[in-house]
Symmetry: C2
Subunit: 334 residues, 2 copies
């Protein structure tokens, strides 16, 4: 497989399976599917986490793993401008983990997320439990609802591009944990961004679909998500490098370790922050930082351009995680 | 863990996580969750399949695996008396399987199931694709709808117990495939029951919740499912051994190989047939065979009793698959 293997396979799956019926408004290809139900719209999505790919129990506790597995999936509901309803969780455990101690710790992660998300609530209503001959597998599926979903495909030329929080925080936290022996000092805020990301319902639920034209969560890094937005909306996007927010904690760690905070933000992923396109005249809501703009689609040129501090423009490919290329891991929606 | 480990863990999960909110009619513990949505009721369930636990690619093709993964989950919707709406599928593949050939074959299984299920339809609307450092992992989550769900918990004393099809067919097919070298001759109907089970919407959609009081699908064998029904409904159940249907093909294979067709039916599982409780005066619908009855709950005695051909009564424990006991594999709903 080429480096594009993962997205090629998703395209292949989309091509080889029957397209959605009339009641499906959005099928394969956005953060969550949108299905017409009565007078409202139902959302459905799933996200899996595999031990040794998405997490390592030497760095994350069973509670962290449960927290993050649910958070990752719920974030897709936030990224549609939706409200979660119910969650099912499938868990395949190797025999040595199928004990009260592991399961108790795991459940604590579910309950902690529930507490952290309040006042947003979800119901944990079932799932499947299996043994695994190898790693731990977790899959979470979530339903949600929304009156007006905010899709990836709604970006319009002239829109302002904004991101919430500090993208790259999760990657900085992961780097710090992986290099703990030499770093020795690491902010808990960085590790927590990696181990216990909180879906941004606090922001998404205030978004107005009139002014917020497109929305996606940053699971694979800013570069990858900007490319997804551009492709889905058939527009071009320009990101101003100097405007990408970077918390001083991230910059300090990058400086100390000779890493690039910019690379963490662009290619790190797993932040579960929101990347949004707001109409040209809209005020950027609190919690978001303006980082670029949506341009007219030209016949040629890259989907996403990075404007460097010296004014030089460079194409910004997805570059984020790709499951079947030799790169760090994350999930990708079918 | 004791042999009861799997169900102990599910009880533990249920105890340690917050119970469902008011809008959830059925949470952890039935074939699918039931969530009030507008004037109707939404169903949600998930089922996972793990390579080396639920399937073996020397016996099942990638198309079989996809077919069965979806069928298993959809069967839970049938077992609630529901109609499927949308499916999401998460797939974790080792790198050597992440290629066009495997994914194309896999998608053919999805489309074949879709064709076989007609006129019942479902939409395949997304999911997640990941790499796996070990076995293939598949999780399917499905939503459905129903005006009046038929639960496990509705069995009433006096009810007639009936099962669809020929339970044990899947186990016979699996045994035949596992012992192919010595058997050499095997009915395709038996292997197909194991590799491509078809959810019984043809029967479930004709059931009337007035006369069909309780419903469950046979994923873990008749014995296990009868125990689930008895426990959930707080009743006792009597199964008449001689009435358990066994197709001549199954009996012939059992005779030839010195196996027990009865054990296949009671403990084999993965049939995805329906086990139903009908009111005492109801006519048993076509496709179902009367195999026993629901008794008053006594203070003592087993939940399920098997009446042998000589009239002797013997307690019938679940005995089906338990993921953390040294037994053959299957799934169990959280």
């Amino acid at each position: 497989m080429s480096a594009a293997g993962e997205f090629d396979l998703i395209d292949l799956i989309k091509r080889l399976t029957q397209g959605p019926s009339a009641r499906v408004e959005v099928g394969i290809g956005d953060d969550a599917a949108v299905i017409r139900a009565g007078s409202g719209k139902q959302l459905l999505c799933s996200d899996c986490m595999v031990e040794g790919v998405h997490f390592d129990l030497t760095m994350m506790s069973p509670a962290d793993v449960a927290y993050k597995a649910l958070a990752t999936c719920l974030s897709d509901i936030a990224a549609m401008g939706g409200t979660p309803i119910a969650v099912v969780l499938s868990l395949a455990l190797p025999k040595e983990k199928a004990n009260e101690k592991f399961v108790t710790a795991f459940c604590k992660g579910i309950e902690k997320l529930r507490a952290d998300l309040l006042p947003v609530q979800f119901d944990f209503v079932g799932g499947d439990l299996s043994s695994s001959p190898g790693p731990i597998f977790i899959d979470v599926a979530c339903t949600g609802e929304t009156a007006r979903p905010i899709l990836r495909s709604g970006a319009k030329p002239g829109d302002q591009l904004a991101v919430s929080g500090w993208p790259g925080t999760s990657a900085a936290g992961l780097y710090g944990m992986q290099n703990w022996k030499t770093i020795k000092e690491l902010s808990g805020a960085l590790t927590q961004a990696h181990t216990r990301p909180l879906p941004r319902f606090d922001l998404s639920q205030k978004l107005d679909s009139e002014t917020c034209h497109a929305l996606i969560d940053v699971s694979d890094g800013l570069a990858s998500e900007a490319n997804h937005l551009a492709k889905a909306s058939n527009v071009k996007i320009e990101i101003i490098q100097e405007k990408i927010p970077s918390h001083e904690r991230i910059q300090a760690l990058a400086d100390r370790t000779n890493q690039s905070a910019l690379d963490w933000a662009l290619f790190g992923g797993e932040d579960y922050e929101l990347l949004a396109c707001f109409s040209a005249d809209a005020q950027i809501p609190d919690g978001f930082t303006l980082i670029g703009r949506v341009l007219e689609t030209g016949a040629t040129g890259p989907a996403v351009t990075l404007v460097k501090p010296n004014g030089e423009k460079t194409p910004l490919g997805p570059g984020g995680f790709n499951h079947f290329a030799p790169k760090p891991p994350a999930s990708e929606q079918i």
